[in-house]
Point group: C2
Chain length 341, copies 2
DNA sequence: CTGAAAGCGCTAACAC
DNA sequence: GTGTTAGCGCTTTCAG
């Protein structure tokens, strides 16, 4: 217990630079220099100041600092959901990478709601973060404008949009969806079902229409859909497949908007003795670990989630550093030809 | 495109209250009143100001605002990891609940590292957040002191610690672990294995020792452990069970520090034709959806993750509002007697 | 209903 | 090496 006098009583008013300066018999500037690691402070003074800072339990006030410098170490991160397993992974990549460079992530969750997204971004903008990383592009026009007019790095991730605000890092969702559709057609499936979140999830919607396109080329189409109002988790995947089979027992294959839902459906099949893929094939999207650890590996599209996050954070940092940053990074995807489709 | 003059050129220097005030021919104070929703502004003036704000695309600077008021709408959230499925769920609960009250979550990830935790908390503290929500208590003494001396609400979540900093919401991990241990003993298992993260995960460590205590009462003990250096995911759960069985093929039951790992192990058993629970029983911890959707429901301890998050956020908000807040909320746990143990 | 003055805690830009 | 001055953009307080 190295408490100085004040014991554990919560200090009514926090200490300031001034307090430190007074105790050290130096000016505030000198303390500031020590704090910001600026050169030009005598080693002895520096040491004394550091000791006093520690003694006093002084914590700098970055509100004041940032206001004065108009620089911040906070990076705003906007994601649709944390329940959809994809986003914790990209967020981890972002947070790890930011943290290594002394930045913090301020995470906002839009719940796939464009209105929420807009107000969230507006609110975060008011903290004057160093940059923005945005996943999901349900963006309203106002959101787009805000991002375009922000004089800070903006990185869009996951889906590469048609008209990027600035930097973007991810993959062409449509291409990925097409690859999956082609694979399924080639495998000989003919009667398609789909389970996903409703149109709020624009990335998934994009993928769905891309798959339709491909199927139509061979006079096929996804005729049966089970859409939910929440990001599909395992329970919904299961429910989705039940609904679809009730609607059309002859379904060949069901595509799920994410792996988690697909896994739920697969579990259901194991339980009910439905042979996968002989009786019913299953395909997901994401390439989560979970799907690849199942007794039968899930057929899916693997994306580089952690890596996307990591690179997005790097892009923000490098852009702030004035380095040359590639505006568009396509990390691609990998079709995992598993055993479920 | 409702851009006023400046088109899409990024405005070099952001607009300020003053800009708005000048255009509106009023003082900054009047604009400020409108912005903060304070009464005492003529409806006409108010309307005009609002229009101008919109035209100008003015975004308030909360750094300045917070500095002036020493109030903030940011709540710092400290969690060990986003990969461990438990934390996205509590974080969702927190974010949802905060957002509804106009607050934002600033999420920091400690990676189960006390040193990182300390520096993270210090860094977040310097933003003068409205409150702190902390999960995981690997806390160093300095961390504890920082939190104790912060004159803002601090809520510890998940595990109820022996010496709470202030408010805490969660469950007694030890009790939960004991309940599980008793169940397994009652079921007749005698040869125990354990798979988990190493001691960095203090909650899991706590649970482990609590289980040992119970087992020792009947002259049993967990003799075989597979510890990893990362939060156990499915792949590790699988690897863990392989390692343990290699070490001791007569193992009755393996306890995993989380459901995800347990599921990985279960998948392995299905694959290898190991009968669960006849040949090998499996138990997890958390009660994730995934485990309960498997063909055989996972035996585990269910915790109220989303709810803990939700209540933690409410506690911060209510405390800030000066309402009476219960200092200790035990949300308990539920032993799920699944089919795997 | 509106405005003027002072200051939140820090740092940039100069002096010395 | 160190100090002084002037703000960053907002809000509080008090006047009118």
């Amino acid at each position: 217990m190295a408490d100085t006098e004040e014991k554990n009583r919560k200090s009514r008013t926090r200490r300031t630079l001034r307090d430190v300066a007074e105790v050290a018999h130096v000016s505030e500037m000198t303390v500031s220099r020590v704090l910001t690691g600026k050169p030009g402070v005598a080693p002895a003074t520096k040491e004394k100041i550091l000791r006093i800072i520690d003694d006093l339990g002084y914590v700098p006030n970055r509100l004041a600092g940032s206001l004065a410098t108009s620089r911040s170490n906070q990076v705003a991160v906007i994601i649709p959901s944390l329940i959809n397993n994809v986003f914790p992974e990209v967020t981890s990549g972002i947070a790890d990478s930011l943290e290594r460079a002394g930045y913090n992530a301020v995470v906002g969750i839009t719940d796939y709601n464009p209105v929420k997204e807009e107000s969230l971004i507006r609110s975060m903008m008011s903290w004057r973060p160093a940059g923005f990383i945005v996943a999901g592009h349900n963006s309203t026009t106002r959101t787009q404008n805000m991002l375009r007019n922000a004089d800070i790095p903006v990185v869009e991730i996951m889906d590469i949009p048609d008209e990027p605000v600035d930097i973007c890092i991810g993959l062409y969702q449509k291409e990925a969806a097409r690859a999956l559709a082609r694979h399924l057609v080639a495998k000989g499936y003919r009667s398609f079902g789909y389970v996903g979140l409703n149109d709020r999830d624009s990335s998934a919607a994009k993928r769905f229409s891309a798959m339709q396109e491909i199927l139509l080329q061979t006079e096929l189409s996804i005729d049966h859909r089970a859409l939910f109002d929440q990001p599909p988790d395992m329970v919904m995947g299961k429910q989705g497949v039940i609904d679809l089979l009730a609607e059309n027992p002859n379904l060949d294959v069901v595509v799920f908007s994410n792996d988690t839902a697909a896994i739920g459906a697969y579990m259901h099949c194991i339980e009910k003795g439905i042979e996968v893929p002989e009786q019913l094939a299953i395909a997901g999207f994401s390439g989560l670990n979970t799907g690849q650890t199942m007794p039968k590996k899930l057929t899916t599209i693997a994306t580089k989630r952690y890596e996307i996050g990591r690179l997005a954070a790097r892009a923000v940092i490098n852009e702030l550093d004035g380095q040359n940053v590639t505006r568009l990074v396509d990390l691609g995807f990998e079709l995992i030809e598993g055993e479920t489709a």
